[in-house]
């Protein structure tokens, strides 16, 4: 496999797109037989860096060495020939082809084969699966595989191409806890065989469990590199964000008023017997690993995938939620997990995004009052602190943090009784993150029910006074956060409860 001690070395690599400096100078060294984690917030240049290594982008400046040799110009084919394999977040597998064909196809293309040899492909696939300890029917179509198995297909495909460096781009985002564990075993196994591995991730606890070394990127520069032991949480966060860990903790005074009461809420295969009460002032957090049912509770309360049994009481009234329309009727708002596809209309104006869920309110006798919509939007832009020049600007022009504020404004404009936020600050810069948290605290104090579904433990500890931990569809019941530390919460998450 890997012949030299250091497989890949980048020396002050810079990449400019016109005037935009995506990489301002990154130095990185990846050794054979090590697992190197690459962490950084959204927009730090991680994806550009991967594209430079895979040959998709040419570096503007700087030097690249592979196995000690200086490479002047790296093309995608060169990169693959030298043993660099990237597994993208969407895996780039073919849903309509069989497992065997998916695994064998790149190899056939690499060798310039003109014919498709089915028997060979099948053997190659079985061999690759054996190597990493995966078990799949080689004849099954990939569209029928789970996300984790699709990833296995992508890994198999990479290793049969004599990969010496395997780059995994956020490999755990869509995996359940068990699947992450399995993936880690496979990755360690490949490392034992001498392969160099780069994992892009920004979840500290996952990085601790797998990484040998860690490089943190910020604003297109590597701000810290070192053995994993050298990083504690505070240093990690500081390097990642450039700020100290914030210490303000939201712990509201006690109110009697019940806003939401959920009893025995059950949806088979997703969650069972969920019970909680949300009082005025409360910010309720729901957490758990992926596949634990945390997201499904939000989906059920918003009517996307309604619960089968159980009762929901909202402001003292029993309600039934069978569809999104029901949820809207009872003034439940939902800030979805995937802002780009689920939350926003990127090619519409900020105004149209803001009124998307409440357009019926602007119906006058003669039709919709577009002028009023613009006024209201402008007011929201000011109250919520969104950096936008006009209500007519396209949504596309806003940064992640400002866009997320407008998703929240969209729901606030419906005057919600309950607002559910799934991953409210994913991909949001630090400043906006704090703003959003302040907004949520104020809403809670006003008597709007706030639920945060998140896997960002730090966010939960600081912003929720009550927590529910989900595990395999079961709930822990309500936990008062009090002065719980993040380590305690991590312990709870991974324990048997």
């Amino acid at each position: 496999m890997c012949m030299a001690d250091t497989f890949l070395k980048l020396d002050h690599v810079k990449k400019y797109f016109g005037g935009v400096k995506a990489l301002k100078g990154v130095s990185l060294e990846v050794k054979c037989g090590e697992i190197h984690c690459l962490a950084g917030e959204n927009g730090c240049g991680k994806s550009t860096l991967i594209k430079v290594i895979s040959g998709a982008h040419n570096a503007t400046e700087g030097e690249i060495y592979i196995e000690g040799k200086r490479i002047d110009k790296l093309t995608p084919i060169d990169s693959i020939r030298m043993g660099i394999q990237v597994i993208y977040q969407d895996f780039a597998v073919f849903p309509n082809l069989s497992v065997a064909e998916n695994i064998a196809m790149n190899h056939a293309l690499m060798t310039g084969a003109k014919k498709m040899k089915w028997k060979e492909a099948r053997e190659l696939a079985l061999h690759a699966m054996e190597q990493i300890g995966a078990h799949m029917d080689p004849d099954i179509l990939v569209e029928r595989l789970s996300v984790a198995n699709k990833q296995m297909v992508a890994i198999c495909r990479a290793i049969i191409n004599d990969a010496k460096l395997l780059i995994l781009d956020e490999p755990t985002t869509a995996l359940t806890a068990n699947e992450v564990e399995k993936l880690n075993i496979i990755i360690r196994n490949l490392k034992e065989k001498g392969m160099a591995i780069v994992i892009v991730n920004h979840k500290l606890d996952e990085i601790y469990r797998i990484a040998d070394r860690l490089t943190i990127l910020r604003n297109g520069e590597n701000v810290a590199t070192g053995m994993i032991e050298e990083f504690d949480r505070a240093r990690f966060v500081k390097c990642l964000t450039g700020h100290e860990v914030a210490d303000d903790i939201y712990r509201p005074e006690y109110f009697e008023e019940e806003i939401v009461k959920v009893e025995n809420l059950t949806k088979k295969g997703a969650f069972e017997n969920v019970n909680f009460t949300l009082r005025k002032g409360d910010v309720l957090g729901i957490t758990g690993l992926l596949g634990s049912g945390r997201g499904e509770i939000g989906d059920a309360l918003f009517g996307l995938a309604p619960a089968e049994t159980g009762t929901i009481t909202l402001n003292g009234k029993k309600i039934e939620i069978r569809s999104v329309q029901d949820a809207m009727k009872y003034k439940i708002g939902y800030v979805p997990e995937d802002r780009l596809t689920q939350g926003l209309f990127m090619d519409r104006s900020i105004c149209q995004n803001t009124v998307a869920a409440s357009i019926g309110r602007y119906m006058e006798k003669t039709g919709l009052d577009h002028k009023k919509m613009k006024e209201v939007t402008w007011q929201w832009i000011k109250t919520i602190g969104c950096a936008a020049s006009s209500s007519e600007a396209m949504m596309r022009t806003l940064s992640g943090g400002n866009a997320q504020k407008m998703v929240i404004a969209k729901w606030l404009n419906t005057e919600p009784s309950l607002l559910i936020l799934n991953g409210p600050t994913v991909g949001v810069d630090v400043g906006s993150k704090a703003d959003i948290h302040t907004i949520l605290h104020e809403l809670a104090k006003k008597g709007i029910g706030i639920m945060i579904i998140s896997d960002d433990l730090n966010e939960l500890i600081h912003n929720c006074n009550k927590l529910i931990i989900m595990k395999n569809g079961q709930t822990s019941g309500i936990i008062e956060t009090g002065d719980m530390s993040e380590a305690e919460l991590t312990g709870l998450l991974n324990s048997g409860m």
Binding site: Q342, G343, L344, F345, R348, I359, K410
Partner: protein
């Protein structure tokens, strides 16, 4: 002055360009063939023709805004006009029976549209496939009912609808203007109109914003079906008969108009004014061809070229913008 400035600022460039082309054709034809082109007969002739496909184009535009396409409109137009004609003939051909017939045609159009919308929205079959099949299905139904030949014997007074005039203005033109205003109002000033734009832009985000996608899809194709019926009523009145394969060239023509009018085939974008302008431009070109005695088949050729040229230009401009 302020207002007109604002008007030009808000009207998109595409519509303005079309307006310019229309003026240019008027000017050129006014110079070269003033007698025949600007004559009352030609102007009236134009006004009888374009409402038929202009109204279909509005249906196509709605479908495209919603992120789909409706290739079955001509089939719906013919089938509903056939049913309407049968009702008219069976009930005796009086004034009320004409109204009954029109009502029947509108109902049939709405039903066909609902069927399309159901298959697209509920069974989630691609709109292109559903409406391509729908064209075959509705044309087939029309053929099955008429057994092939044109259905004649429609009441005399019925033909006034397309061929008559009201104070010198063709009634067909008045109908077109009315339909045009209604569709413009629906898109601009109703909740449905905004919802369909949202859905066409991003149907997942619209679901997550509490918009009932299935309802919007069905409504869109239902309105499309009714617009098809209106066009069918005009065609039947124009030819004073109903047939399963009238206006078979209109599918391509409406697609051309809609794209020419600045509607995005990927959905979420479309302007009624642009479509109306495109209808007028195409009718002017078509009339000019007739007067210049150009072989009518050249039109098909030119329509195709125009469609491709417009699409290519938009794509090239778009990619330039992105850079």
């Amino acid at each position: 002055m302020e207002k007109s400035k604002k008007f030009f600022k808000e009207a998109d460039k595409n519509t303005l360009a079309l307006f310019g082309i229309a003026l240019l054709i008027f000017a050129l034809m006014g110079i070269f063939a003033p007698g025949s082109f600007l004559g009352i007969a030609n102007l009236q002739g134009m006004c009888i023709q374009f409402p038929e496909y202009g109204i279909l184009a509005l249906g196509m535009m709605l479908a495209m805004i919603s992120g789909g396409i409706d290739l079955s409109l001509v089939g719906i137009a013919n089938f509903s006009s056939i049913i309407g004609s049968i009702v008219m003939i069976k009930t005796g051909g009086s004034g009320t029976s004409i109204l009954l017939g029109i009502g029947a045609a509108l109902i049939v159009g709405a039903l066909c549209g609902t069927f399309n919308g159901f298959l697209i929205g509920y069974l989630r079959i691609p709109a292109m496939l559903v409406t391509l099949c729908g064209l075959q299905l509705y044309t087939g139904l029309g053929l099955a009912v008429t057994k092939g030949p044109a259905l004649t014997g429609l009441p005399e007074s019925y033909s006034l609808l397309a061929n008559g005039a009201f104070f010198g203005i063709p009634i067909a033109l008045l109908i077109f203007i009315m339909v045009f205003l209604i569709v413009a109002y629906i898109l601009r000033a109703t909740v449905y109109g905004q919802h369909v734009l949202y859905m066409g832009t991003n149907d997942i985000a619209s679901k997550y914003s509490g918009i009932h996608n299935l309802k919007i899809t069905i409504t869109t194709y239902l309105i499309g079906g009714m617009l098809g019926a209106v066009s069918g009523i005009l065609m039947a009145s124009h030819y004073n008969s109903a047939k399963a394969d009238y206006g078979s060239s209109y599918t391509l023509l409406t697609l051309l108009i809609v794209v020419l009018g600045g509607t995005a085939p990927e959905g979420g974008k479309g302007k009624v004014a642009g479509v109306a302008m495109a209808v007028i431009v195409l009718q002017l070109v078509s009339s000019a061809f007739n007067i210049l005695r150009v072989n009518s088949f050249v039109k098909t050729f030119v329509w195709g070229l125009l469609l491709l040229a417009i699409m290519i230009i938009t794509k090239v401009v778009e990619s330039k913008k992105k850079e």
